[in-house]
Symmetry: C2
Subunit: 277 residues, 2 copies
């Protein structure tokens, strides 16, 4: 993989990388299309990364559909796909990891303590294999995007991180590979995530600046969905994820909700400069 990429780079071609775990949906495809517009070559990586799953998480049931993935990726403008095996990526005695010690202590890092270690490590490895100029990430995984920016800054990695908006189903549910696990009833309930974000955003636009109040508004809506079990709802500083007493700078409203074993996340940014006040 690296030889091919380095040859392209030596020939002056720019490379975009779209790291995925497969089960591609419109969210991924929007990243691939953006890369295809902005870069000469677009490499989609497809790798279900075992080390970013916790012991009781859904590694074994994570959706896999490589045939369809390749077709979708190429259709969206990818010029190559890199699909390494687990054995290619990890040795039995692998022991070196990339860790983040501040931003990763919040939100998803609380319920998934080794998740971001796994994500950062695999993404650095994928960067070293694909040698991209730019890498594309979706804002549904807002915390992951912050961590990517922090990693390239702190480790001096010469890759530009591009973050692109959440892509949603017609009814507002954020696209996720995990959506296909939802039963019909859960799928109906799952719209509560977007409804909760919308209700809190509306309150924010009407002048509410207390994070705890906005969290409470979101919580009330989600608790009405029968199959929903809240992991977290947090309104925090959008830059460093720390606690906010009052929204006097951009805030992130982020939530993670289980529908039985399926954990979905969503978020929105509330910016006092832009909206209302």
């Amino acid at each position: 993989m690296r030889e091919w990429s380095q040859k392209l780079r030596a020939d002056g071609r720019s490379i975009g990388c779209v790291p995925t775990m497969g089960a591609l949906h419109e969210g991924h495809l929007s990243l691939i299309r953006a890369s295809a517009r902005e870069c000469d070559e677009t490499i989609v990586t497809i790798f279900i990364n075992p080390i970013q799953f916790g012991p009781n998480e859904d590694l074994t049931t994570y959706p896999r559909d490589e045939g369809s993935d390749l077709e979708l990726a190429m259709g969206a403008g990818a010029t190559a796909a890199y699909c390494p095996s687990v054995e290619t990526m990890y040795q039995s005695d692998s022991s070196v990891y990339v860790v983040e010690e501040k931003l990763s202590k919040y939100l998803c890092g609380l319920s998934r303590p080794t998740h971001f270690r796994g994500v950062l490590t695999v993404v650095l490895k994928l960067f070293n294999a694909t040698v991209p100029d730019r890498a594309y990430f979706g804002l549904k995984d807002y915390q992951q995007m912050l961590l990517m920016n922090r990693m390239v800054r702190d480790l001096d990695i010469p890759v530009e991180i591009i973050a692109l908006p959440v892509i949603r189903e017609p009814d507002g549910l954020a696209m996720s590979s995990r959506n296909r696990h939802l039963t019909k009833e859960q799928r109906k309930d799952a719209i509560c995530l977007k409804n909760a974000l919308d209700a809190a955003t509306e309150a924010f636009q009407n002048g509410e600046r207390t994070p705890r109040e906005l969290e409470w508004i979101a919580r009330t809506i989600i608790e009405q969905a029968g199959s929903a079990r809240i992991d977290y709802i947090s309104c925090c500083d959008a830059e460093d994820l720390s606690t906010l007493a009052k929204i006097d700078r951009p805030a992130l409203l982020a939530l993670a909700v289980y529908f039985r074993d399926t954990r979905l996340i969503d978020n929105t940014v509330l910016s006092p400069e832009k909206e209302g006040q």
Copy 2:
């Protein structure tokens, strides 16, 4: 730094990197000379890396002599020196690190629990700045060399690690920037490190294959030096640093000894295939 290096690489020039904390001695110069022989360009990095020092360690007293260092480096064949400031290397909110979770639990990692996190992180950053084909390390820091090899393997870093022999003073003391801290009496006592390694090696060559016995031989000699205080003496597996019951494969005999506040290390490898048996 990276622009300059990448331009050289694009022109087909090979780059060797010799990471140092300055206070250069013949050990460093042997690495620079090797790089100058094997690579078109040799970049010496000089950076006293604060994050590899523990809170009670010798960061503030670590010897500094940049003027003489540059002269020595160029004299040995370096074509460039990279001497970043602490502010260039670290932000006030830096939070991403490279960690190793197996090999770093032994030897120096026990008494210096954040040391190797600091070393791996800074070396990856220096690699990303200097973009070398090869990087040169001395075998005095044997565990560090193992960790470098593990890092480039596990993170798929396209740099070849070259490990070169310990360089010693005429009386056998391993060259170290910290030797200049020794008083006359401590300097005399410090030869006990090499004497201890030699005595254990001799016993090994005469058939002794029990690590605990060899450690005991070394300990007895070091305890005779009045100013010596042992941090550790360990005879372990030379590949993964794990405990050995019997030397039936290459073993590392490594030691760390304080002379008042000055901590010195040394080691030798005992190979049953090669020597005696």
